[in-house]
Amino acid sequence: MTMHSSTAEPVGPASWEGGVSPFGISWQKLMMWFFLVTDALLFAGFLAGYGFVRLANPMWPDRTHVFSLTFIGFMTFVLITSSATMATAVGAAQRGNLKLARTVVLLTALGGLTFLGCQAREWTNLIMDGARLSTNPWGVPAFSAFFFMITGFHGTHVLIGVTILTILALRLGRGRSSAAGVELAGLYWHFVDLVWVFIFTCFYLI
């Protein structure tokens, strides 16, 4: 890792001797990272449980029969692109261009809404096929239980992210948010994309 610091704080053993943050970031950013660690472990718990049930079950539905992987691929594309626009917003804000940052933050929120719309369509399709929390037509009841739980929790996180981004855009428009605020929202949004990387692989592909 590079050793340059964003402020005039000491780097190396001196940074652990008190008076400065050894992590070299603001307390707000540090707390956001600690929150993301806890949230990551929430999804790690879900996926570990899912891994257990997959290992224990000799049979599992063929995902290519249940889902359209092209559509899921499109959802992944939308979320990845929204992450890129979010990073652009952070970059713009750090360069002092809060107007551009606001526009791109709204674009990111739109990406999130698109993803949620797609996920709603997926849920509707599955429910119309007969999938419920306790049963489904593909022979393994746990399959739909995990689907709704995991994608439900992830979708809720996306919705919370869209809400945060909308509020951020409003505040940027009024000059009440700074580049630091955009960066914090950016960390949350990238986390949501990161979780989808794992869900997409473990639940839809493997």
């Binding site: 992590f23 993301l36 290992l55 224990a56 992450s83 990073a87 652009t88 950016g186 592909l205």
Partner: protein
């Protein structure tokens, strides 16, 4: 003020993530040995995660203390969690197969 990354870096990362996603979808539908497909998917997943954490979330430029505390701790905990649970899953599979 933090030195902002170049916009270009973000969009190169975007391209890499899309390419990896495409590879994963092709791996899923291609006629490969299950173990090879599984290995490819897991590796692609980990590379995507690394790109997001390192560049989008800026960890590439943060202090080692932060990287170890956040990424190291999370990965270690998740790996240990899975390693403690997975053998029971296999045991259940063997138990139901034996009956």
């Amino acid at each position: 003020m933090v030195n902002p990354m170049r916009y270009r870096t973000y969009w190169i990362s975007w391209g890499a993530l899309l390419a990896l996603t495409l590879v994963m979808l092709l791996t899923e539908t291609a006629p490969l040995y299950h173990a090879i497909a599984l290995g490819l998917l897991v590796i692609a997943m980990l590379v995507k995660a690394t790109v997001i954490v390192a560049w989008f979330m800026h960890m590439r430029f943060e202090r080692a203390a932060l990287v170890v505390s956040v990424v190291g701790a999370t990965v270690l905990t998740a790996v240990v969690l899975f390693a403690l649970i997975a053998p029971d899953g296999v045991a259940v599979l063997r138990h139901t197969a034996a009956q």
